[in-house]
């Protein structure tokens, strides 16, 4: 019986741990250096003229992330020139999710003509540090004197498949507000997504 109780406690810990940590609105993001699909290393510091970033934790395989792929491309098309480029990061372990291998990422980036970095988080440490639990998850960052500060976390919008009559384009709204020198009026949202495929211990 003791063993059963112990395993329950352990399980609880495993389940709860991930959603409880990570960056929230106001956090200062520590810079990172991850490999892009073009084999070059990318850091936030490389984007000298950026005013901020639209960091998207996504992947090749999640149907929700795939539904949002064109919207991610459109965000970069609209906002990179305004100082808020998209930085996409694949969260998934390629053993747990073979469709998310580096080669498959390169194929997807080419096929969809990604004009933004699509980075591989091979040890999944960045995904953990941000606290992204599922794909897609967005963090909008603003570059400030003290570093890159999280101004928005959550969903791209609340209309995964174009069926919500009261659609709200959360990320666009947040970035537009930042461009106009305001704080995002909605800074935290939630939506359903695919659990990050963690490396099996």
């Amino acid at each position: 019986m003791k063993k059963v109780v112990m395993s329950c406690i352990l399980l609880l810990a495993i389940c709860m741990k991930l959603s409880a940590q990570g960056y929230t609105v106001g956090s200062v993001v520590e810079d990172f250096r991850l490999k892009n699909v073009d084999e070059k290393m990318v850091s936030l510091a490389d984007f000298k003229s950026a005013k901020g970033f639209i960091v998207v934790f996504t992947c090749n395989t999640c149907p929700v992330a795939k539904d949002y792929e064109n919207r991610i491309i459109a965000l970069n098309d609209e906002y990179a020139a305004k100082g808020y480029p998209v930085i996409a990061i694949n969260t998934n372990d390629p053993v747990a999710s073979p469709g998310d291998s580096f080669v498959k990422m390169q194929e997807r980036a080419k096929e969809k003509n990604f004009k933004f970095p699509y980075l591989v988080d091979s040890d999944q440490q960045l995904t953990k540090r941000f606290g992204a639990a599922h794909t897609p998850t967005v963090y909008v960052l603003a570059k400030t004197g003290k570093g890159n500060v999280v101004e928005y976390t959550g969903a791209i919008d609340n209309d995964q498949d174009g069926s919500n009559p009261s659609k709200s384009t959360f990320v666009k709204n947040a970035v537009n507000e930042l461009i106009n020198g305001k704080k995002p009026s909605v800074s935290k949202t939630k939506a359903v997504g695919c659990t990050v495929k963690w490396k099996k211990a």
């Binding site: 059963v4 109780v5 395993s7 329950c8 399980l11 609880l12 495993i14 389940c15 709860m16 991930l18 959603s19 409880a20 149907p63 929700v64 639990a133 599922h134 969903a155 609340n158 995964q160 498949d161 069926s163 919500n164 009559p165 009261s166 949202t189 939630k190 939506a191 359903v192 997504g193 695919c194 659990t195 990050v196």
Partner: protein
């Protein structure tokens, strides 16, 4: 399949007395969810005379109900009760179900009103794990 309002959902759980509700949130597009569904079906089948009720709530978009979710339920011969929330705003139902839920699926809520139990798990289960959490968990 029926649409479920958040008020009816709350009432169902609140009126359950000593029933343990095992509410699994899943989607037809979520491969680990689909893999896990048989565990919930088996849990219910093996405990049909116990105060245990499995409810499967699909987070597929409401617009997919008749074209995708209903046929899925038929093909997979799901015997548990299956619902889609009437509320179209994912954020509203996510926070309503449990503030701790980030929105990832699969996720499972275990509620027992008499035992004041309200546990939320954002992960997938093996049948053994699921059983250990829901049958005589103490």
């Amino acid at each position: 399949m029926k649409l479920l309002s958040l008020a009816d959902f709350d009432q169902r759980l609140a009126n359950g007395k000593d029933t343990t509700f095992v509410v699994n949130f899943w989607a037809t597009w979520c491969a680990p969810c689909v893999d896990e569904l048989p565990h919930f079906e088996r849990l219910q089948a093996e405990n049909s005379s116990s105060p245990l009720k499995v409810i499967l709530v699909s987070v597929d978009s409401k617009s997919k109900l008749s074209k995708v979710v209903d046929p899925f339920v038929k093909t997979h011969r799901l015997k548990s009760e299956v619902y889609i929330f009437e509320e179209p705003d994912q954020q509203k139902f996510i926070d309503h179900v449990d503030k701790r839920w980030s929105g990832s699926v699969p996720a499972t809520l275990v509620v027992n009103t008499s035992a004041s139990r309200h546990d939320f798990y954002e992960c997938e289960f093996s049948f053994e794990k699921l059983k250990s959490l829901t049958i005589n968990p103490n």
